[in-house]
């Protein structure tokens, strides 16, 4: 299948990056760009394919991060903590999803509720002791592969690449499976989907759980790289915004859109940093401006601008 081939090629090329360069800057960029890809892909599953725009996706990120951190501090090996983190994120998603989808919340209301949940978790984790309250949690530094911490960036690059590849495979599966067809049908017209046998509730629930698990993986990864997590990072708007802007800019509901968007935004952020230095908030300003511009001039994003739709139109015209 074409998708699988492209994914394999992508994985191969990126995997070689740490082999051909040992520049800290390049490796760091690659790592953070891939990390952004992961977050964007996670959002894309629920937002792009499912049509449910979550403005509080950090909810799942933070849950994954905290579980990863707490499990390790309790003595669990990080590789064993990872599935726990994924499960925790998925469980929170099932809870939020069951509540919101059962009551038919859509569109702006759904966005608001996800935002509200993220805020609630942030405030609660500020006050509760097992999350370290405002101080946050620190995971001790002990670099070794068995501890999911790596002495050189290369290890982290491969780790996040693996996660990104999994996300890509899941997205490709959505494009070629019954579940994916059902999910997109629910996105495009819920009543019509119902009329042909699709249960929108179960489909959306599965989608939010899947999306959350991937987001939780991102959270767990963050903890492993930075050995630190606090309520602001975990549940704050920064992560939520980063995930959704990258997915939208790149092209919602596509396989490579989130990847393209994440890399593009990252390049932009780097460029900004080089031009203006390390100004607080400048990144987000750029993200916001890009979001507004994209919505004004190219709402289908970079990937949506492009060839697939035009190609289809051409073929359609010739045959129709």
């Amino acid at each position: 299948m074409k998708d699988l081939g492209c994914i394999a090629l992508f994985a191969l090329i990126v995997a070689c990056v740490p082999l051909v360069t040992s520049s800290g800057v390049a490796l760091n960029f690659t790592m953070m760009a891939l990390y952004a890809c992961l977050l964007a892909q996670a959002w894309n599953i629920l937002g792009g394919f499912g049509g449910q725009f979550s403005f509080g996706h950090a909810l799942f990120f933070g849950t994954g991060a905290y579980v990863q951190a707490i499990a390790q501090l309790q003595g669990l090996n990080p590789w064993l903590a990872l599935p726990l983190a994924l499960a925790a994120s998925a469980l929170v998603a099932l809870f939020v999803g069951a509540l919101t989808f059962r009551y038919g919340l859509k569109g702006s209301y759904f966005a608001l509720v996800t935002l509200a949940f993220a805020e609630v978790f942030r405030i609660v984790s500020l006050s509760v002791s097992f999350t370290g309250a405002g101080v946050g949690l620190m995971v001790p530094l002990r670099a070794s592969a068995s501890n999911m911490q790596f002495a050189s960036r290369a290890g982290y690059v491969w780790l996040v690449l693996a996660m990104v590849v999994v996300a890509l495979l899941v997205t490709a599966w959505l494009r070629h499976s019954r579940f994916g067809a059902y999910l997109q049908a629910v996105r495009d017209n819920e009543d019509a989907a119902r009329a042909v046998g699709v249960d929108p509730f179960r489909v959306k629930l599965a989608a939010i759980a899947l999306s959350a698990a991937l987001m939780g993986a991102g959270g767990a990864f963050y903890v492993q790289v930075f050995q630190y997590i606090d309520p602001g990072i975990a549940y704050g708007p920064g992560t939520s915004v980063e995930a959704l802007v990258a997915a939208i800019v790149g092209g919602m509901g596509t396989l490579w859109g989130p990847v393209v968007g994440a890399v593009a935004l990252h390049l932009l952020a780097d460029l900004t940093r080089n031009l203006f230095g390390q100004l607080p908030g400048i990144n987000m300003v750029i993200y916001g401006v890009v979001l507004v511009l994209i919505m004004m001039f190219a709402p289908r994003g970079i990937a949506g601008f492009g060839l697939p739709a035009r190609w289809r139109r051409l073929r359609g015209k010739r045959n129709g």
């Binding site: 070629h176 499976s177 019954r178 067809a181 059902y182 997109q184 049908a185 996105r187 495009d188 017209n189 009543d191 019509a192 989907a193 119902r194 009329a195 042909v196 046998g197 699709v198 249960d199 929108p200 509901g253 739709a309 289809r312 139109r313 073929r315 359609g316 045959n319 129709g320």
Partner: protein
């Protein structure tokens, strides 16, 4: 196949469906007619599970499905189309139909293949790659029909599948509906296009102001005074007869 027992549903103070009972036998091609606002689409919604009736029962193949979820009804072989067409706008014709096909076929390739076959049945074979949003009204109606057909239904509820079509397009659709019925599918169509009703329907039910006012063969029903009055106004039947006698 389908029985309605004293079905009633009101919106606020307005009784949209008032104590309707009907029996649709298997393999019948039936038509539901009546002036605008008579409650026909509401009745469809009640039958297919999109609305829960205030009172009454819906029996499908002997089983009480009153208020059951639409997707479960679809699984048991009841498919419906919508009066205002509802395509999956962002997807192609083939992908649209495939969603329907997936009800019986879990495999993607199988569903896409089935979609092609069904598209041929309704005359959309040459537009498979088109995004659904690019289709004309006639095309969208066919897509609506194709998608429902792909679910391999036993009962097909068609809501004004001919509305908005020009005479040529109507002439093309009628044999399609006929062949569907001929293949063993029970069909109930809401229709305003009388030509289709007269040509296709074996049984006709007439709804006016939420109530069933007549039923029978197309011939019987169009002669019925109550039906004439429902469409043309009070006293028209008598006037028409008087005019005929005067000739």
């Amino acid at each position: 196949m389908l029985s309605l027992h004293k079905l009633s549903h009101a919106f606020g103070g307005l009784k949209a469906v008032d104590d309707v009972s009907l029996e649709l036998p298997q393999y019948c091609l039936g038509a539901l007619i009546g002036p605008n606002g008579a409650g026909k689409t509401t009745l469809f919604a009640l039958m297919s599970g999109f609305l829960k009736p205030d009172s009454g029962r819906v029996l499908y193949r002997g089983e009480d499905i009153t208020g059951g979820a639409p997707h479960r009804n679809a699984l048991h072989g009841m498919a419906r189309t919508f009066q205002i067409v509802q395509p999956f706008a962002q997807q192609t014709v083939r992908e649209n139909i495939a969603v329907g096909a997936h009800l019986r076929l879990p495999g993607r390739r199988d569903a896409l293949e089935r979609a092609e076959i069904v598209a041929q049945q309704v005359g959309l074979a040459h537009q498979l790659e088109k995004p659904a949003s690019d289709l004309t009204v006639a095309g969208r109606k066919r897509l609506e029909l194709a998608r429902a057909l792909a679910t391999q239904p036993r009962l097909l509820l068609l809501d004004e599948v001919l509305a908005g079509l020009n005479p040529g397009e109507i002439a093309e659709m009628i044999p399609v509906v006929q062949s569907i019925a001929a293949s063993g599918v029970t069909v109930l169509m809401i229709e305003h296009v009388m030509q289709a009703v007269m040509n296709l329907a074996q049984q006709v039910w007439v709804l006016a102001q939420g109530r069933l006012i007549a039923q029978g063969t197309p011939m019987e029903v169009t002669r019925d005074d109550k039906v004439i009055e429902a469409y043309l106004g009070h006293g028209t039947a008598a006037r028409l007869r008087a005019a005929e006698l005067a000739r």
